[in-house]
């Protein structure tokens, strides 16, 4: 199964993924058009600030089995067999929030969407960009991410690649070679911002 894999150490909080997601789920699929739509499209991925100015892009993991699907009383949540994604039938959703209560990642929230005529609030979580996937494209958030914090692919392939990196670093370290996991600029930046966080109101 293909998934959006998160490498949080690479997230620098630019929120590019949020904008790309909102545009992708707008009626016009255009940044400038999306701005004038009602309801205004919203991102389904959330780059939240954590401690020390670090961030984590949080979104639906499309669990299998999915707790949200298990508890949905109206059967609004269902699985797209082709991509393995958990999707929402907005017509059936009654915004009871049972799904949100059991979601292990707390990423379900409710708003109005343009996709249905009846303007009620519904679970508008990540749909894994199934339309894009069918066209052979990556999800919009992954395409927008320029730091490699979000990668799309077969989960085991991604992990294999990370594992290879780990092995490389470990063996280099054994040979006394310097093998930094992150570039020096990022390390320096995070060290400084950690201090700022601890001394300021955002700590």
């Amino acid at each position: 199964m293909k998934t959006v894999f998160v490498r949080p150490e690479r997230c620098i909080g630019c929120r590019h993924c949020e904008i790309a997601c909102a545009v992708e789920h707008s009626r016009s699929k255009d940044l400038f058009g999306a701005f004038f739509e009602d309801p205004r499209p919203a991102p389904r991925i959330h780059v939240e600030p954590g401690v020390d100015f670090l961030t984590f892009p949080n979104k639906c993991r499309h669990c299998e089995p999915a707790p949200c699907m298990e508890v949905c009383p109206t059967g609004a949540l269902y699985r797209d067999e082709e991509t393995g994604s958990v999707l929402v039938n907005y017509d059936k959703c009654i915004a009871c929030a049972m799904c949100a209560m059991v979601c292990p990642f707390d990423i379900i929230s409710f708003r109005k969407v343009w996709h249905i005529k009846f303007l009620k609030t519904v679970n508008y979580k990540c749909d894994h960009c199934v339309d894009r996937q069918r066209d052979g494209k990556e999800p919009a958030c992954v395409e927008a991410c320029k730091t490699g914090a979000l990668v799309f692919g077969e989960v085991n392939d991604i992990i294999r690649s990370s594992r290879r990196d780990f092995t490389l670093r470990t063996t280099m370290a054994l040979q006394g070679e310097e093998a930094p996991e992150l570039p020096e600029s990022i390390v320096t930046f995070r060290e400084i911002m950690k201090k700022v966080a601890h001394l300021g109101p955002l700590g």
């Binding site: 909080g13 600030p49 320029k146 109101p201």
Partner: protein
């Protein structure tokens, strides 16, 4: 919100006790402040913070991925992280230099109009200084009226904004010979005020300067045209028009507002406006008018650097520094906040909308939606000042006494330490100071300058660093929001000698001065330059040889970048409390924190923790002392 939680939030945001009281009030009344907006802005874009975002042309916006194996490494035009970071820094710096210098130009223009008899309310107050400056500019003074001299001086200075003269007088004669030699060798002697700024704007255009070293050298030259040009003119001509500051006692913090009086806050930077308001406010007919509206009188209070200008010269109390601006309104006791420009939150009218406060904008170049605009011109300055005050008085009956809260304890402070005063206090020569430094009684001196930034607990960076330094027998001089912070913390009093190391305490006690000296507004950082230059000249060394340093623990503004750069270019080691947006280029970072020292003698360091900043400053001072053999 729970009272305990509110107290916790407030304690995280500021160490200013008076501000805490009003911040609690603001939170309970749902009034938004910069701290709330900073929180709402989290997370802030990493590309922007690293300086690798370029939003200059329509092929972009572009950004350089900071991770080696992933993402674009060049903008559409081909610019690398080094080019983009250097260009962005130059762009920020030129804005800061322009802000200072445009402020300076306005003051020189007022001098010209005053000399020509075209201004209203202004006079040439410090004739001695006028003659001294005329001497520096080679302008004849014998047998000439002060107006004639002032006219020639103003024109000579205005010429230095243009490109015909190709030199800036102060930058020619004021720095020590060795410092000037360095500038010449490196090719960064400033040619004119506007020219360097315009050229900087040219260089950041696509397809002009792509070499980060070349870009940064021009950044240094532009900063010198500010420090030894625009800012220095602003300081000197303000002194000519309004008097050179002398030691004054005054009160500081939000507690300077008065319950029974018409409170007027003067916020911004240029004394051209605020000094006229001060003049008009003493008009008996206006005081009488205030009484007729039920007030006991008119109470003026400063805010930010225009506050420093009127504090230094007239002892007008100061309500606070940058992060106090919204809180002043939230006291519910301010009838009018008069603004000129720089560091005024665009949301200030929104804040004022929660109370009866009127925001009055006065500069043609700084309008704020929702403000009453009463444009200020030198020709009609005093009339406009009176009208503004009248409008504030008319607003007094609209105050809701049930929503007023004024902190009870304003803090006493001493300000007014101009270059001239310091020299005079030392008996007319810097020799005693040099002797005190040589003997180790004063280990060195540090200029703490710059702003507030809500990312740092308000005043904590300034006050902690100042306390740490004086404890280590290092004399501190301050300007801008840093100086106001020290005022609020009680460090600008001779009694603060108790917090200083024994040696420094004995020196400042014998002179009857505080261990932390308030030297003025942010353009008055130029006073620090002149002080450093004359000490270095007296010792026959370069500024970079002196056991001194600069610090900007809570900086936020582009002006601070220009100040930091002209200190570094003049040879001063400068420690910043927050990182400039350069870390996305290890080359630029390395050049500014290491390489540049070998070129101009000064360099930058970044250290958010003020105690650790004091450690590295002390180590630097020790190194310089050793090199001097003292």
């Amino acid at each position: 919100m729970d009272v305990k939680i509110v107290k916790e939030i407030v304690d995280m945001r500021t160490i200013d006790e008076a501000a805490k009281e009003i911040l609690e009030k603001a939170i309970s009344e749902g009034v938004e402040t910069a701290w709330d907006r900073l929180e709402a802005q989290q997370p802030q874009c990493g590309f922007g913070q690293l300086g690798v975002c370029c939003n200059r042309c329509a092929m972009g916006p572009c950004r350089i991925a900071p991770f080696e194996d992933e993402g674009p490494k060049r903008g559409v035009c081909g610019a690398t992280a080094d080019t983009i970071v250097a260009r962005n820094l130059l762009d920020d710096l030129l804005v800061g230099a322009a802000a200072h210098s445009d402020h300076g130009r306005e003051i020189v223009e007022v001098l010209l109009k005053t000399a020509e008899g075209k201004s209203q309310g202004y006079e040439i107050l410090d004739v001695e200084k006028l003659k001294h400056l005329a001497g520096e500019y080679g302008i004849a003074t014998d047998g000439r009226s002060k107006e004639e001299i002032a006219r020639d001086l103003a024109l000579a200075m205005l010429e230095e904004f243009g490109t015909i003269k190709n030199r800036i007088q102060f930058a020619e004669t004021r720095p020590p010979e060795k410092t000037r030699e360095t500038w010449k060798k490196v090719g960064i002697v400033p040619r004119s005020v506007d020219r360097e700024i315009v050229e900087a704007a040219h260089r950041v255009h696509m397809g002009v300067d792509a070499d980060y070293v070349n870009i940064l050298l021009h950044a240094l030259r532009t900063s010198l045209s500010d420090g030894w040009g625009g800012s220095m003119m602003a300081t000197e001509i303000s002194d000519v028009l309004f008097g050179t500051p002398k030691p004054v006692e005054a009160y500081v913090n939000l507690g300077v507002l008065k319950k029974d009086m018409v409170n007027i806050i003067l916020h911004g930077h240029n004394p051209v406006l605020s000094m006229m308001i001060v003049k008009a406010a003493s008009d008996p007919s206006l005081v009488e008018y205030a009484r007729s509206k039920g007030a006991a009188g008119i109470n003026l209070a400063g805010m930010c650097c225009t506050g420093n200008e009127i504090l230094m010269r007239q002892g007008v109390p100061i309500a606070g520094n940058m992060l106090n601006q919204e809180l002043a309104i939230a006291t519910g006791a301010v009838e009018a906040m008069i603004i000129d420009y720089q560091c005024i939150f665009p949301s200030i009218t929104f804040t004022a909308g929660c109370y009866h406060t009127k925001i009055i904008s006065t500069s043609e170049k700084a309008k704020v939606p929702g403000a009453v605009h009463m444009e200020f011109h030198p020709e009609t300055a005093l009339d406009t000042a009176r009208e503004i005050i009248k409008l504030a008085i008319d607003n007094f009956p609209n105050r809701n006494p049930d929503r007023v809260k004024i902190p009870s304890k304003p803090i006493k402070m001493m300000a007014g330490f101009s270059y001239e005063v310091i020299k005079q206090a030392l008996g007319g020569s810097f020799k005693p100071l040099i002797e005190a430094i040589a003997s180790g009684k004063i280990k060195g001196a540090v200029g703490i300058v710059g702003c507030n930034n809500p990312k740092v607990k308000q005043d904590y960076g300034h006050v902690t660093l100042a306390k740490e330094l004086i404890k280590r027998n290092i004399l501190v001089v301050e300007t801008g929001c840093a100086a106001i912070a020290s005022g609020k913390a009680g460090l600008l009093l001779p009694e603060a000698a108790d917090l200083a190391g024994e040696d420094l305490a004995s020196v400042v006690r014998s002179l009857g001065i505080p261990p932390v000296l308030h030297m003025g507004s942010c353009v008055d950082c130029s006073r620090i330059l002149v002080l450093l230059a004359d000490i270095a000249k007296e010792m026959g060394v370069a500024i970079s040889d002196l056991p001194v340093a600069g610090a900007a623990p809570e900086w936020y503004s582009q002006k601070a970048i220009s100040i930091g750069a002209y200190f570094v270019a003049s040879g001063v080691f400068t420690v910043l409390g927050l990182p400039p947006k350069i870390l996305g280029s290890p080359n630029v970072t390395k050049l500014l924190t290491e390489g540049v020292e070998g070129v101009v003698g000064g360099k930058f360091a970044v250290e958010p923790d003020p105690v650790k900043a004091a450690d590295i400053i002390e180590a630097h001072i020790e190194k310089k002392r050793k090199a001097l053999g003292i």
